[in-house]
Amino acid sequence: MAEPKRITAPLSDDDIMKLKIGDSVLITGKILTGRDAAHKRLFELAQKGEALPVDIKGQIIYYVGPAPAKQGYIIGPAGPTTSGRMDPYTPKMLELGLKGMIGKGVRSKEVRDAMKKHKAVYLAATGGAAALIAKNIKAVKIVAYEDLGPEAIRELEVEDFPVIVANDAHGGDLYEEGQKKYRKE
């Protein structure tokens, strides 16, 4: 198996441009979390032109709603949720400078186009590998919308967090290309 690439979050523009679909990547650094409810709030603020409670410029957002943590753990199992539900809000987030997203499943055409335009990447985490992924999360801090409970925006400190580049900043789409490659008529 090809050696995974190691990258540091937040991402540098240089790193983003180097990532290609199919790359296996290990992320170390700080990423944000957010899913349906948090996206809705951020989107509504952005539409009104108001400031967001967190700066998403240059950041990676991980779409996750963890299970509760048992004693001795900082976070419960934390696998990705379906990214498609965030699609309606995503072009706006990218416009505001978001550079990376981690989730599972295909993105809409609007999101893919916006990623290419704003030079961002979409990274697939393995759905259902929640116990494994949680091992790579070293610290958790709530940074906004505490009232949303499990859906609050958190900052995660991650180490060697495993993802695969599904959509790169050059317009590549692994869902499409990978499936085509292994299709047998």
């Binding site: 296996s24 996750v64 709603g65 299970a67 759905g127 116990a131």
Partner: protein, 279 residues
């Protein structure tokens, strides 16, 4: 008549909820290993390896395989010669509440589909009751994740569509599901019965162990053919391309009305969870 204590049902269901979420079946783990040998895609191999590691972490540390700990679907086979002291459905729900709370499992149930809030303890369970001969109570807990459940469908086909129609419907359903149900998936297919019963058949089909073929050789062949055709779609683990789209296909059939031909597909993810106990 044999008597079973209310609390015994509560404790059993609670334990099964936790075990189903922590301990992935040996049949599924074996299926990952078998798939790994056949996979051609590096990405797919990477994902299958992650799933194997994940199952191992869950098993040894007793933490859920997936953060979506599912809707608690319970299959209850109640012997006709056994009496449970108290209301058994209430006991099952108490068990679910206890298991999800004490087991640190995520609670994902909303009290009313339109106006509701999270019920806080993952109740109520969905309970399918069957009265069977004997004096035992057999309980299977099969937690069902939302991502894969959403990729399921019932279709009222025409009798003239026949088995070829069924096959095409199943393939089309899997194709449209693509990456959404966390492939590699397990596909349950119901054929026959009525509109509501066919969905139950498809769900029940998911309780089989990977590799266990239908006893009727005709349907066993259809299962094999469907699995091969699905894996030729190229969707692969997590939809990123590969040879492993489904781990198995299970068919359950039932007599039908002369005018109807109901078919259902219930999609399960690789977190194919079910645990059984007999009291």
């Amino acid at each position: 008549m044999r008597e079973v204590d209310y609390n015994q049902v509560v404790e059993t269901v609670s334990r099964l909820c936790m075990e189903a979420n922590y301990f992935l079946g040996g049949d599924v783990v074996k299926a990952f290993n078998d798939a790994l040998k056949k996979e051609e895609s590096e990405t797919a191999k990477n994902i299958l390896n992650q799933l194997l590691q994940n199952a191992e972490i869950s098993r040894t540390e007793k933490i859920p395989i997936c953060q979506d700990c599912g809707f608690a679907v319970v299959f209850l086979e109640l012997g006709e010669d056994v009496h449970v002291k108290g209301n058994i459905i209430k006991a099952i729900n108490e068990g679910v509440s206890k298991g999800y709370t004490e087991g640190f499992l995520r609670k994902s149930i909303v009290s009313d589909p339109v106006k509701g809030k999270n019920t806080g303890d993952n109740t109520p369970a969905i309970v399918h009751t069957m009265i069977v001969p004997g004096d035992t109570v057999k309980i299977t807990v099969a937690p069902k994740g939302g991502g894969s459940e959403n990729m399921s469908e019932v279709k009222m086909m025409k009798p003239a569509d026949g088995i070829e129609g069924v096959k095409n419907f199943v393939i089309d359903r899997v194709q449209r599901s693509s990456s959404n149900p966390c492939p590699p998936t397990v596909i349950g297919v119901g054929i026959g019965g009525t509109f509501e019963y066919v969905a139950f058949l498809a769900k029940k089909a998911l309780l089989r162990d990977i590799g266990q073929r239908h006893p009727d050789p005709f349907y066993a062949d259809v299962e094999r053919e469907l699995l091969q055709r699905i894996n030729n779609l190229g969707i692969g683990p997590m939809g990123l391309g590969g040879r492993t789209t489904s781990l198995d296909v299970f068919i359950e059939v039932h007599p039908r009305h002369i005018a109807s031909f109901p078919v259902a597909v219930n999609t399960n993810c690789h977190a194919a969870r079910h645990k059984t106990a007999v009291i």
